[in-house]
């Protein structure tokens, strides 16, 4: 039993990260129909912004983290929107997919060529002490990850539902034309979405890198996990993406332990395909209306 | 002999809201039947149910006496039922001529013969005649996406006739077409109706167009037929006026 709890608790910590990444992914999809194939790299890269700030600019931990958030919002938020997504929107979905696939390659290669191909240690916010929880061992780091991630999502949820700007963003996501008629600055709302995605992925990066080390290939698994989580949970719902992330984190651990370690990567994908074929709107998602 | 199209007590609802609410009518060979009605009265939904794009909730559709409810559009098309859509639906990257051949090729031969047979599925001359008939000769080699709106509308209609259909359902063929082209279109439709004994059902908002083209008009409101008869009779029916102007 303690083994099972151990797996679930560890899975929750990983799942919380997936959730953060998936939420950003789903937000981008809602507001701008962007399928970001570089989302995993968006999590990989901010850790290196911080490492550069610490190593080359001599910053302390917190200033470096602040710099990391700022650069992420700028590059992964604003610049991504302005330079990559915007010129592509009029061409439809496929060119943008291709472009983000290329962006993923670009980011990986850039980190490898200009920083290092080796895994890097990354400073942690909290010291890692291990606690006993129902016979399972949980490190304070994992708890911090879960708490911060859930806090961030809750904050985002509150922002989206309770502030004027947040509601304007949701209106934009639901129907851009109606939002425009209502006098909402649609362009600005879309920009906000991209900034939020940049910040969420940066947060995920800073949470996960101390545990999993920073390396240029880290995005490959994370990006895939984010897609799967977002689709399984429900593409058009923040709650859905969170649920999808947590399910995926736990499922991955349980699959490796009880199904097959060699096929552990297959289990989430099989779930993904099943969801796409039988419930494409996801577990919590709404059906998107289709006209003939 | 059975009617070309028989619709019996057709219902279609979306999440509890009835879009088509018990519609029955028949269309005989050679007729041009107009369907009019205010926006949201269920005209397009009715078409989509007849043509297999949507599954009716209940009721029956018969083509030439054969029950076709729930059949796929492509199988219906093989039975000689063709349609146009409310919004423009041509294949923009194909040439006008290829648009027409594509519209008729599935009626020629088998899968096998289409792969190994002639490149135009033997439809080249038919397509050329159609191009001439609809006065599109000067743009026959152009990509359809580069045509003017009116020309595309003509092409759209022409495509519906490529398979030599018995029954054609036209969804707002006159929408957005200028007056000169409108006359053209009406004349073409009449000619086809005359020459081939093709049967038409036309949804249209342009009253002049409907009244001058159709032999019979049905009026749809809130998913039901509220009136039908000759164009003149319908024009003067108080129920129709009420449906359009509100109570």
């Amino acid at each position: 039993m303690s083994a099972f709890i151990q797996l679930v608790v560890s899975g929750l910590a990983t799942g919380a990260i997936y959730a953060l990444v998936a939420v950003g992914f789903a937000l981008l999809w809602q507001t701008s129909q962007t399928i970001n194939f570089a989302q995993g790299e968006f999590v990989m890269v901010p850790a290196f912004f911080v490492l550069v700030a610490i190593k080359y600019w001599g910053f302390g931990y917190w200033p470096a983290i602040a710099v990391g958030f700022a650069i992420s919002a700028l590059l992964l938020g604003a610049a991504f929107k302005g330079l990559v997504v915007e010129p592509m929107l009029r061409h439809g979905v496929l060119p943008l997919v291709i472009s983000t696939v290329a962006l993923a390659i670009l980011m990986k290669e850039a980190v490898k060529d200009f920083y290092s191909s080796q895994a890097q240690q990354f400073p942690a916010i909290v010291e890692g002490t291990d606690l006993d929880f129902l016979g399972a061992v949980v490190s304070t780091q994992s708890i911090a990850v879960i708490v911060v991630a859930i806090g961030a999502v809750a904050l985002l949820n509150w922002f989206l539902s309770s502030t004027l700007t947040g509601r304007a963003m949701q209106a934009t996501a639901q129907n851009r034309n109606v939002a425009r008629i209502l006098g909402i600055d649609v362009e600005r709302m879309i920009l906000y979405t991209f900034l939020i995605n940049g910040l969420l992925t940066a947060l995920a990066s800073f949470l996960i890198s101390p545990i999993y080390l920073a390396k240029f290939t880290n995005g490959e698994t994370l990006g895939l996990a984010a897609f799967v989580a977002a689709i399984v949970g429900g593409f058009n719902q923040v709650r859905g993406a969170v649920l999808g992330g947590l399910i995926l984190g736990i499922l991955d651990n349980l699959a490796a332990a009880y199904v097959s370690a060699q096929y552990r990567a297959a289990v989430p994908l099989v779930v993904l395909v099943a969801v796409i074929l039988w419930r494409p709107q996801g577990i919590l998602g709404r059906v998107e209306e289709r006209s003939v | 002999m059975a009617s070309v199209l028989e619709i019996a007590d057709l219902h279609k609802s979306f999440g509890g809201i009835a879009a088509v609410n018990g519609v029955s009518f028949t269309v005989e060979e050679g007729e041009i039947v107009g369907i009019i009605g205010p926006n949201g009265s269920g005209k397009s939904t009715l078409f989509n149910c007849v043509l297999g794009q949507l599954q009716p909730t209940s009721g029956e559709v018969r083509i030439d006496g054969r029950v076709t409810t729930g059949m796929r559009p492509c199988d219906l098309n093989a039975l000689g039922v063709s349609r146009t859509f409310q919004l423009l639906q041509v294949f923009p990257e194909l040439t006008v001529r290829d648009n027409l051949i594509a519209a008729g090729q599935e009626h020629c031969g088998t899968m096998f013969s289409r792969l190994f047979g002639p490149r135009d599925a033997g439809l080249g001359p038919v397509a050329d005649r159609m191009i001439e008939f609809f006065r599109l000769s000067h743009v026959a080699g152009e990509r359809a996406g580069r045509l003017s709106y009116g020309q595309q509308k003509l092409l759209d209609a022409a495509m519906a006739f490529m398979g030599g259909p018995r029954l054609v359902l036209l969804d707002e063929p006159a929408g957005g077409v200028n007056l000169t082209m409108l006359g053209d279109l009406r004349e073409r439709l009449r000619a086809i109706n005359r020459e081939r004994r093709s049967t038409f059902v036309v949804i249209e908002h342009n009253m002049d167009f409907v009244m001058s083209l159709c032999t019979r008009v049905l009026v749809l409101a809130e998913g039901r037929i509220i009136a039908q008869g000759s164009p003149d009779a319908v024009r003067n029916d108080p129920k129709v006026i009420e449906a359009y102007l509100g109570p």
Binding site: Q121, V137, N253 | -
Partner: protein, 379 residues
Amino acid sequence: MKYLVKPLFAAAIALSPISAVAQSTVYIPNLAELSGAGAVSGTNWRDGIILAVEEINAKGGILGRKLDVPHVDTQSEASIARAQIQKMIDNKPYVILGPVFSGSVLPSMELSKAAEIPQIMGGEAAAITQRGNPYIFRTAFGQQVSMPKIANYMRDGVKAKSVAVVWVNNDFGKGGRDAFVAEMTKRNIKVVADVSTESGQVDFASDVVKVKNSPAEAIFVYTNEEESARFLREARKQGIKVPLIGETTLLGQKVIELAGEAANGVKGHVGLTADAPVPALQAFGEKFKKRFGYANDHNGIKGYTAVYVIKHVTEKIGKFDSKAFAAALHGMTITPAQEPGILMEATWDKNGDIDRQSFLGEVVGGKQKIVEILPKAGL
């Protein structure tokens, strides 16, 4: 179409007559995993080579000719490795260095064999030297040599009756795992948990749970650098008490750096290490660190000694003759007295397998400590 023609014309113009390699240098290309999954190993290997080449060239080269050693990336992919080695062979190399990944060595060695050019590489898969290829040479133990040493240690040092094995599911990990399990069976030690992990895997919770729940008295960990570090951290977190045993990588510098405290207490066999109580190896380690700013692992030593092997053999045969080189190296023993750059005495057998002393080590206080020197296996 024209996009196709232009480059081909460019090829015709630029490359038709290959100018004879200038007589003042000798062409010894290095093929390594400079990117992709093998980048850590490949970079170490390359830097070891760079160091040796700089030293040799500073002293006037080999037989008066400077070494021309370009470094080519395989991107850790076999098909690219094959294409690149073909490109090298077109330029008529004297000897080819690399690659490090066995998966890249296996397809490429067929080409060097056909061209009769010796290939000194870093791969450790047993299969490499079992194909009767007279042009392939190792710089480190094959798994068929190192695994018996680990197995002996499991039996005699750890005295384990049952073990768990955690391996990375690629050619390196699977090969080691297969050899290890075979050796365990020979020694009547039960393998009670057989855990496959993914290259690039980040969460090792389920793998640690598995070995923790098994009755294993020792755990053998055979994965690449980062994965080793992540596994060690998770193992410490879940309070694994039984000994964690590794083979070279697990006790390497990079793993210790990445795993931090979690690496302490790890034991195992080390084929090559800068921390060995061998002055030449330690001196090399310092040189390496001074030149490149990071601590080398065994791959750095492999690359460094490979170049000195070329120097020694060439000087011995007195000419640049690829076939004679291969013939001479079979059965040769090189001692540090003859060639200081070899660092440790080493012998190559008729298959190209290498034999030399190795070590049993332990990680203590964030440093690798060698506790015992194992004699040459006597192939």
